[in-house]
Amino acid sequence: MSEQDKELPEHVIDEAIAWMVRSQSGEMTEEEQKSLTAWRLADAQHETAWQRFVAIGDEFSSISPDQRETARKTLDLTWDRRNRRDTLKSLAWIGAGGTLLWSGTKLPAVPRLVADHATPVGGQEVVLLNGAEIRLNTDTILDIGSDSRSVQLRRGELNVAMSTSDPLVFGTKHGRFSARDARFVLRDLGAATRIASIEGTVTLAPRYEPTSETEVTAGSSFTVSSDEVADARLFERMDPAAWTQGLLVVRRMQLEEVAAELSRYDAGLIRVASSVAMLEVSGVYRVDAIAESFAALEAQLPIRIEHYTGMLTIIRPA
């Protein structure tokens, strides 16, 4: 066995890791630097272990500094896609009537991890704020209050996963939604705002009557308009957070509504003939590959889909 491959005692490896972590912290003192040198000199095995960890770092430093951001984004994207695919594999709960439509030829769009709080049509983005991870869906605009304790959803949709000691408040045209420890989806529907709680409880205070609060518990959903709070019963029809995985998951939803959902992710117009608008659809569709999703619908239902110049799609009876 060569020197290179010799096994080192576990405690030496542990110590080398502890020193390596410290030396990478960016806050190592001169005193600690001296202790590290002394440790390396104390035993040949210490130095061997240390050099092995230095060599691990060399893998990274072989990438030139100006290319490191590209490298980091490439790795982030690779791993993000792999996570999504693993999630897809676990989507086993689709009912017997549903169809899993997944071509696997193209992968979901990139969530950009940059702090710019507006997404284009078809985009997604993640914002981290005081212990909350806020994911913006397609065509969404978000403002963050100067105190970082309140957020205003101007348009579009958010998926929020949070665990904070102080409540974080999300405002929309129609009300205020506050939570501490919850996962929920908030969507501006234009004439109303819809809230769906996946985990934990969100408190809804309508703008028209801020004192009459509604507790939105896990698995429930409500819409609030300028004069009414109503039970949305959303979970029966769709998985509100599926878009975070690049998907639209619906159960017995009308074709017209499915087409409307898909159209949010595409700049083109979609029209559905009234004779097929009420057809019931169950299945899993891609929100980042609209053409594929329409092709899947066409295969599943007695419909014909016509595309004009890429900007207009018409769904007719077959």
Partner: protein, 162 residues
């Protein structure tokens, strides 16, 4: 006792067909079959193997997974370049090295939890301090230190135990 030529004659076309069922590309399957035999003869005991096909399939499966992983990195790289036009790409002649380097990092780190991976990459690739990483990822410095330690251990074992 069979020699390597016998092994090749008896199992090569079977192996290509087996690989074709996994990678769905004739050229990749042929390349991988070649690599599989090269790996096989690199092992001291290859002539004593009882069930050569099972042995070949084990090697080939690992190579096919590696290839898929390399393709995923390459595709992500192309997508990053097209979606972030300001990205700095390596010069053409260094591109392969760059992608191979990322693939090696991916292979070592891919099984770590996402935050651990991110913390390590931010530390090693972007040279950020633990305090900065803690702020970015919204966790405590001690959590970041545990993440970095875990990732270092994982890298160490990948290099010195396999």
């Amino acid at each position: 006792m069979p020699d390597v030529a016998d092994l090749y004659r008896s199992h090569h076309s079977w192996l290509v067909a087996w690989l074709l069922g996994r990678v769905r590309c004739r050229e990749s399957a042929a390349d991988l079959a070649q690599d599989t035999f090269v790996r096989l003869i690199g092992r001291p005991d290859y002539l004593q193997v009882n069930n050569p096909r099972a042995y070949l399939a084990t090697i080939a499966r690992g190579l096919a997974v590696d290839l898929a992983r390399r393709h995923a990195v390459e595709q992500a790289y192309l997508d990053v370049l097209s979606q972030f036009p300001a990205s700095v790409a390596p010069p053409e002649e260094e591109r392969l090295d760059f992608l191979q380097c990322l693939s090696r990092i991916d292979r070592v780190l891919h099984e770590l939890p996402p935050r651990t991976r991110r913390a390590f990459v931010l530390s090693r690739l972007e040279g950020r301090t633990h305090r900065e990483i803690a702020t970015t990822l919204q966790v405590s410095i001690s959590t970041i230190e545990k993440d970095i330690a875990k990732a270092l251990r994982c890298c160490y074992h990948a290099r010195h135990r396999d």
